[in-house]
Amino acid sequence: MPVQDRNGQKIWQRRSGRESLMHWIMWLIGVAIFAYCWHQISQATTWFFVWDAPRIANDIWTRATPPKWEYITQLGKPIWDTLNIATLGTIIALFLAVPVAFLAARNTTPSALFIRPIALLIIVATRSINSLIWALLLIAIIGPGVFAGVIAIAIRSIGFCAKLLYEAIEEIDETQVEAITATGASRWQVMAYGIVPQIMPAFAGIAVFRWDINIRESTVLGLVGAGGIGLQLSSSLNVLAWPQVSLILLVILAAVVISEWVSAKVRGAII
């Protein structure tokens, strides 16, 4: 225990002299990096606009309130599209994620040397790119519309679902698998009766969890032209129809809150 001796009196300290020196150096480096970053940001900022910001914010607020309530009649179809993008995207993603997860899990992969790295690469690559970028890409390839949104959400969700699923597969109870194997079951039967029942609750939980996230993400996919309520948002923003924008934001907020509530309820019922 580091103890400092001062005039014959022993005083307890949290760190020894060397440790606290290291600690301070680390903090110094951290602060220096942050200061550099802040300097770069401030260089790239037009400060006149920032000082003017309260006035602009106030201006936007007065334009945006009250929301244009009668516009809600035109939002039914976009909301339905958004729901479809999220739900169908999640379903497709789950179908694709299951084989990837089985290939990526250490205890079920056919080849830890060749196939597992490929599966892990698929997981990382789909996970690290945001669904908006996937949407951008798919719009260039298959044209704007709901379909591009569905595929974008599906691709983005593969990595997430497969990662959580393969972690669940790695944590299964091996004794059950062994018991099924001991009955003389084939590889597929072991999977169906030994592994699948154990990961089923995790799978259902992941599906609902991802669906909730996908509802959030699909509300903004329209900004790049991939269908859903984001399309209305972007066209309203383009014509500076702020009362419509505020109504759309309220609708999106409501959709997010409802989907979170539904997902919490369903997950509570499963677990």
């Binding site: 951290g30 990096i33 942050f34 970053c37 802040w38 770069q40 940001i41 401030s42 790239a44 900022t45 037009t46 606009f49 920032v50 910001a53 602009i56 914010a57 936007i60 339905w80 599209d81 479809n84 739900t87 169908l88 990382v124 690559a125 996970r127 690290s128 790119i129 945001n130 908006l132 970028i133 951008l136 890409l137 260039a140 390839i141 298959i142 044209g143 519309g145 709901v146 379909f147 569905v150 009766y193 029942p197 089923m200 259902a204 959030r216 993400e217 509300t219 903004v220 900004l223 790049v224 948002l233 923003l237 934001l249 999106i252 907020l253 997010v256 809150v257």
Partner: protein, 277 residues
């Protein structure tokens, strides 16, 4: 023999001689069939309302092939200046926003933990978290770009704001589930409130705080890649331009760089989390 045993035996004898069947995932029959039928009806309805222009999709496959091929031959060189500037701006935004976001979310997390904060503070902090979580980054970015003008400042503010909701919520949950005994021992030694937090609470939640912070840095970087789409700085603007100009090789190079940085961050976070735990 008691009554339940007889019931068991009759149930067993009813089952004897029949082949075993896998129990269904949803036990109640009516609920299972309602779910299945409702789901099928939804799928049909969804399929009927989505318009898919198959001929357009078919035409696009050629471009899709070009894009996939571009991944085998990414072009880092032609737009290297733009890519470099965009990446640096993304990283700078990520670092600055993570530092500020984490610094702000620690006091808010303390305020949002019921065992540390009094009720009024708790309610205020919880509502801040709820607002921050309910608004997506990209929508916040649109509003902030409208207010503060184009550039990385709007992106920095967006990411800081989003960090608060994520980190404060999870940290508050960790503080709420901490071991009371240790904190009470510190308090019994006559510690002030700040000492109580520093020596009683902080050591217990530190591993989780570090783990969450690194995870959030990872998320912030991924998000910073799209903020450029709405003019909030970062690599997104370069990426968007390269898509618009059909320069798939440059786009592939940018996507590969993003994936590499995310992989590096994930690897780093694995090492650091293993060390603090």
């Amino acid at each position: 023999m008691s009554a339940p045993d007889t019931a068991d035996t009759t149930e067993l004898s009813a089952l004897l001689g029949k082949p075993w069947r896998k129990p269904a995932f949803v036990q109640r029959t009516w609920l299972r069939w309602t779910l299945i039928l409702g789901f099928a009806a939804y799928l049909v309805a969804a399929y009927l309302t989505i318009e898919i222009n198959w001929s357009r999709v078919y035409e696009g496959l050629e471009r899709g092939k070009q894009f996939v091929l571009a991944f085998t031959n990414p072009d880092f060189v032609t737009r290297s200046g733009d890519i470099y500037a965009g990446m640096v701006e993304s990283i700078i935004m990520t670092v600055a926003a993570s530092v500020v976001g984490i610094a702000i979310s620690i006091p808010i997390a303390l305020g949002a933990a019921r065992n540390v904060a009094p009720l009024p503070v708790y309610l205020i902090c919880r509502s801040i978290i709820a607002v921050s979580r309910a608004l997506q980054e990209i929508i916040v970015a649109i509003l902030l770009v409208a207010i503060f003008g184009f550039g990385p400042l709007a992106g920095f503010l967006t990411l800081s704001f989003a960090t608060i909701g994520f980190l404060a919520k999870l940290l508050a949950e960790d503080i709420e589930s901490m071991d009371r005994v240790q904190a009470e021992a510190i308090r019994a030694s006559g510690a002030r409130w700040s000492q109580w937090i520093n020596y009683g609470v902080q050591p217990q939640v530190m591993p989780r705080l570090i783990g969450l912070s690194i995870y959030r840095i990872d998320i912030n970087f991924r998000e910073s890649a799209i903020l450029g789409l709405v003019g909030a700085g970062g690599i997104g603007a370069t990426l968007n331009t390269s898509f618009d100009r059909y320069e798939y090789d440059t786009a592939a190079a940018i996507l590969i760089l993003i994936i590499l940085v995310v992989m590096a961050l994930e690897y780093l976070s694995g090492i650091i989390r293993a060390r603090v735990q």
